[in-house]
Amino acid sequence: MIEYSWLIPTMPALAYAVIILFTRRSKVLSGLISILTMAACLGLSVGILIEVLAKAPADRVISISWSWLEIPPWTAHVGVLIDPLSVNMLLVVTLISLLVQIYSWGYMHGEVRFSSYYSYLSLFTSSMLLLVLSNNFLQIFVGWELVGLCSYLLIGFWYFKPEAADACKKAFVVNRVGDMGFLMGVITIGMVFQTFDFAEVEKMVSTGVANGTFQTGFIAGIALLLFCGAVGKSAQFPLHVWLPDAMEGPTPVSALIHAATMVAAGVFMVARTYSLFLVDQHAMTVVAFIGGFTALFAASIALAQDDIKRILAYSTLSQLGYMIMALGVGGYTSGMFHLTTHACFKALLFLGAGSVIHGVHNQDIWKMGGLWKKMGITAATFVIATLAIAGIFPLAGFWSKDAILAAVYESQIPGHIVLYFAAVFTAFLTAFYMFRLFFVVFTGEPRDHHAHDHAHESPFTMTIPLMILAILSISVGWLNLPGFDAYSKFVYHGEFHEEVFNWTMAWASLLVAIAGIILSALFYYWKVFSAEKTAETFKPIYLLLKNKYYVDEFYGWMVKKFVFGLASICTWFDDNVVDDGMVDGSGWITRKMGSLFSLTQTGYVQNYALVIFGAVAVIYLMVSF
């Protein structure tokens, strides 16, 4: 199977081309092509997994390359790298994409541009798979940018909505800012190591650092440049602003972006280039603290949001912060494991939210309520996902989150205790706001009766993916049951070493999560406390959170003042100084000189005659004396 792995990114790309060029008119055909290719990709991925598992752990890395571009001394390759990390990602990406595509069949029913939608989905997944399978820095950058393009197309899918048009532009530009750091990192790598290949760079770094050719600070600088890209794509602070706005796209797309095909790329890239980060502890510390800060920061914002998708978006930010933090403290396996489990339950949450929106045609949670009776399957699967993200035993989130907490607690970086408490507090907040969302939407009395009467359970194309994801959200964590450890024996960096599950810490975090749920229930289920009054009491804080710490406003102000201010100055300069001043000015000087000299041309013949005789006389005098 491995020799056919190049088909995995190629097939969806071909599906894109076929749909765009030929089958655009037929919705059914386009959708089927897209879904079937994705199923084939999933099949291939499973085949590869089986094949890789059959090998001894030392032989599990297979790299195949083709030459793409040759400029001595560089050769840029396209290639495929199969190792446990990429197999893990392959499965996540293809599985989530397949489920999202099946789900979209129901969700996008009646959409005029149904075929275009499916073609973009295919391209999106294809780009992500290209990125995942990449064996060199250049190709990962290519996939990286293509993912950005597809997110642009999909977030702006309903381009006639001004918000969508803004959001897709924002997503692309913010990503681009991060990508430029990434590009500089890639170019520096090409420069220093004269190759883009992951394995070769890794080897050169380890030998180079050992014999003192490279200073660790230099490698750390490269790692941090690469990390800029991850900050953009995985929406870490300060480049997180695009992700919450990205919900302007169709909801299945949000599920895809948040779970599998986009934001995971940043985490994956850090994991892929992990050896560069490991060289210097400062780089690791920066990564860990950015992750930890984002986790807490986003969780606090999520407390005060009203839009169902926006709450989920901030929870994604927060969970991504967790993963980045895990990688930063050396918890490679736990970070990737959380990525995997998170993909399942976050996809489920978004698809569930989509199902709700499909039912009530609204996104404001305060216009929903009591939907449990109307939308049984959606509600049941949603509660499973909520429990999973809150980290309740024995669902998926419990195992992966506790692995991260343990990794943070046991790490060696300075200030890890601060990070640990921030992470635990984030877990508490996560449980609180996720159950706030759940209680408000699904329990209690309906708030908007018109919407409630209209609400209905979604068609089976939508509920079946929900059920599959629910099963996964429960069970994926069991891959890493203490003592069984199938996952950590498969995906690890460097040498495998047994990790002992820390039960004390696990129970502690479970208690924290339950505390969060209970507090949430007191507010929103039993209504012992009033949310409104609390918000009124802490009004400044509430407003700060509701307005997302005013980061968007700050960026907007910066762009307006600096970028457009500079643009105004330059445009003025170009119009007035360069164009009117220099260019038209030189024309003006020429014309003025012309009119000056034309004064000698009086038109009077006798003047000319006088000048001629005068000139002759002058010449005569000059010659004679």
């Binding site: 009119s595 000299f597 034309s598 004064l599 000698t600 041309q601 009086t602 038109g603 009077y604 013949v605 006798q606 005659a609 006088l610 005789f613």
Partner: protein, 104 residues
């Protein structure tokens, strides 16, 4: 004829040329200007003949030039008069000051 020194011819020529130049520069009537030009040409002719007589009559260079000048002067006068007539038709005037369309 040999008794008249060459200088006298030159004086005559200078006087004639100056009168012609004066006419060209001062007179406003185009016909008068043209007459001035003719006078200047004739002054030149006198010079040619005088020098030819006193230095070298054999090659006939001077007289031949004079014949050419007279011929061309005639042609020029014809063309010039034609132009003056058409200007007069256009502008009802032969005043050279009024004809300055070529002014820059």
């Amino acid at each position: 004829m040999n008794s008249i020194p060459v200088l006298h011819f030159l004086y005559l020529s200078i006087i004639l040329f100056s009168i012609g130049l004066f006419g060209v520069l001062i007179r406003k009537n185009a016909i008068s200007v043209l007459m001035g030009v003719e006078l200047m040409l004739n002054a030149v002719n006198i010079n040619y003949l005088a020098f030819a007589k006193y230095w070298n009559w054999n090659t006939l260079t001077g007289p031949v030039f004079v014949v050419f000048v007279i011929t061309i002067a005639a042609a020029e006068a014809a063309v010039a008069l034609a132009i003056i007539i058409s200007i007069y038709r256009q502008m009802k005037s032969t005043n050279v000051d009024e004809v300055h369309y070529l002014r820059g």
